[in-house]
């Protein structure tokens, strides 16, 4: 394989993997607290449309990013209120969030353009690539890894930070305790509902940020179904990563790589019909999920937080 092709594939891999990784890390934090939020797709697409709309009208990509984070957090707050305070079924609430978010994003996308016109086809500000001095001159991968947009660099910082907090700090210990054994955590004096609210909202913010990366950097602009199932792939990646932010990197690179290969083959004018190339990420998700589930069962490991999906009630000790 020649160097130019390698660099181009690696560049697209990282760019495609970034939005997935934001969403995956966000969902990992949420699920670690014991809350299953299947609304990732809905929050992500709302993040994407609101980020683009805000950036388009203010002319500032950063306003877009902030809007997406706020919107993601607010949608996650609905889920948190329903599942933590009102103890609604987490699966159904998450599905409702996805249906609601997808509908609302489509609605807003048709109204938030200039003078109430659709946003589709509008050109707005976008994140430009910035080459980091020295680092981007590293042979082979320097150009692909260190000539990216700011949100990619943000992701480089976020993953180690999330890993460090989760495994090496006291707040991380509390987070894991709340997800594994809320009654014990409660007895230790940890505010179980409070932490669950916090991490559900934080997770939603990161998912929204992932959406912003899609509409402001990866494929700048807004089209219907922009996320096209990336939120669901992120949920599959959480399982693949066995709820570990570091392992999520491998998953995101794998899926980004599938995207990149799809891109390259299409650009090279392959005879494989486009539909089959577009199926790749979805088929790949199923295959990867089957393999990882089988492998984890083989090793007799249970990766999921023990209290995932179970509402916490102090009065009812299970």
């Amino acid at each position: 394989m020649d160097v130019a092709l390698f660099i181009s594939i690696l560049t697209i891999t990282i760019r495609a993997g970034t939005s997935l990784l934001y969403a995956t890390v966000g969902e990992i934090l949420t699920e670690r607290s014991g809350i299953l939020n299947l609304g990732v797709e809905g929050m992500m697409i709302m993040g994407a449309v609101s980020a683009f709309a805000a950036a388009f009208h203010t002319g500032s990509v950063w306003m877009g990013v902030v809007t997406a984070i706020v919107v993601g957090g607010m949608l996650a707050l609905i889920h948190a209120f329903l599942t933590i305070t009102l103890r609604a079924d987490q699966v159904v609430s998450g599905l409702a969030l996805t249906i609601f978010g997808s509908g609302l994003a489509s609605f807003l996308g048709q109204r938030l353009g200039p003078e109430g016109q659709p946003l589709v086809g509008q050109v707005g500000p976008r994140f430009e690539k910035i080459a980091l001095p020295v680092l981007s001159d590293i042979p082979l991968f320097g150009d692909a890894v260190f000539r990216q947009d700011v949100l990619v660099y943000g992701m480089y910082l976020l993953v180690p930070l999330a890993w460090f907090i989760l495994y090496k700090t006291r707040p991380g210990l509390h987070l894991r305790a709340v997800g594994e054994s809320p009654h014990t955590a409660d007895a230790m004096g940890v505010n179980v509902p409070g932490l669950r609210y916090f991490y559900t909202i934080l997770g939603g913010m990161l998912v929204g940020l992932g959406g912003a990366h899609l509409s402001l950097a990866y494929t700048p602009g807004w089209t219907e179904n922009l996320t096209s199932g990336r939120g669901w792939i992120a949920i599959a990646l959480v399982i693949f990563a066995t709820w570990d932010p570091a392992r999520a990197v491998i998953g995101a690179l794998l899926f980004g790589g599938v995207n990149a290969i799809q891109f390259r083959l299409q650009a090279a004018g392959t005879t494989i019909p486009a539909a089959f190339l577009n199926m790749l990420p979805y088929a790949f998700t199923i295959i990867v999920l089957v393999l990882i589930t089988w492998w984890e069962a083989f090793r007799k490991r249970i990766g999921a937080p023990a209290a995932l999906g179970i509402p916490y009630m102090r009065e009812e000790v299970t």
């Binding site: 299947l38 609905i78 209120f81 329903l82 305070t85 009102l86 103890r87 609604a88 079924d89 699966v91 159904v92 609430s93 599905l95 409702a96 969030l97 249906i99 609601f100 978010g101 997808s102 509908g103 609302l104 489509s106 609605f107 048709q110 109204r111 109430g116 096209s228 199932g229 669901w232 949920i235 599959a236 399982i239 019909p273 539909a275 089959f276 577009n278 199926m279 979805y282 088929a283 998700t285 199923i286 999920l289 089957v290 589930t293 089988w294 069962a297």
Partner: protein
Amino acid sequence: MSFSLKLEKRLEESRLIAFLVPVGSLLLALVFGAVLLQAVGANPWRTYSAMVEGAFGTPAQWAQGDFYALTETLVKATPLMICGLAVSIAFRMLFWNIGAEGQLVMGGFAAGAVALWLPDMAPWLPRWVFLPLMALAGILAGAAWGIIPGLLKAYVRVNEIITTLMLNYIAILWLQHLYYGPWKDPKGFGFPGTAQFEPFTWLPRLFGRVHLGLVFAILAAIFIWLVLSRTRWGYEIRLIGENPVAARYAGINIARNIVLVMFLSGGLAGLSGMAEVAGISHRLQHGLAVGYGFTAIIVAWLARLNPWGVVLVAFLLAALLVGGDQIQITMGLPAAMASVLQGAILFCMLGGNILTRYRLRVVRGMPAKAAQAAQEG
């Protein structure tokens, strides 16, 4: 003043609340929708009345014998009923089949394949066998698409939410590939779609565009109701859903039940796909996958997984969809308003459901003290 919300368990479920929650949810969702409409500069009252008229028609139209709006609502209610039943039977045993959309598409694909190719391949076949064959093909294809995640869940414990969902995308892309590519009508002026089926493969129409699929839906509801309430299999399904541990101790084979239920669930969704292509479009084209399989999830949940509830709720949500299309045509408002309202109704129902089992108390003062007082009292 600080206060906190506290939930107290009711001794028995409140029937009054069980009735008030759906009504209140609908009203609350409409209020939310009104705020949204106002925010984008539309008149909520006029929008809602346009939706109602679009979905049910006006008395003036009825007087003239024009029931177009109402029949269109029934047309959309048909796949929602069948798919709603399909997902509700899976949800009963807590198998989250989010893949009705893909199962519907595969059913439509298989029925379409029979209608497009079999008349030429087997011209000696009597014409009346084609519709039953198409229905059978639709059911089997949908069931096959449903059994894949069923088997993976039953024997490898793979998360079915993800697999059923991913299979949706694959099915939709597969169908698109066919009608944009190899199966495209050469005489279609570049229009993406297959050639029209022969008229003897069309489902008979009852009135307006309402076709025999509506009868399938009612029969399916009777069937599901009978299975759930009158058979041993139905009992096993309900027991697995309510208490999987007890079901296992009772000697119920959960893996086998998952596969069987997904055969039924996918088969029903596949049948609705067959009814759509044979009853409405008469060809494979864009517009088969318009989200019935997803709306069906809301239908099933709002109906509390009750088969007759599914029939009723499917009709109401179909009215919402037709009303949504109507405001897009007449007022230029996005039809997505319908799915926004659906999501909002579901949120309110979810939040409200807790009130049937718990009493919501506002506790004033310090939560800790209140908890202490409750313990002492």
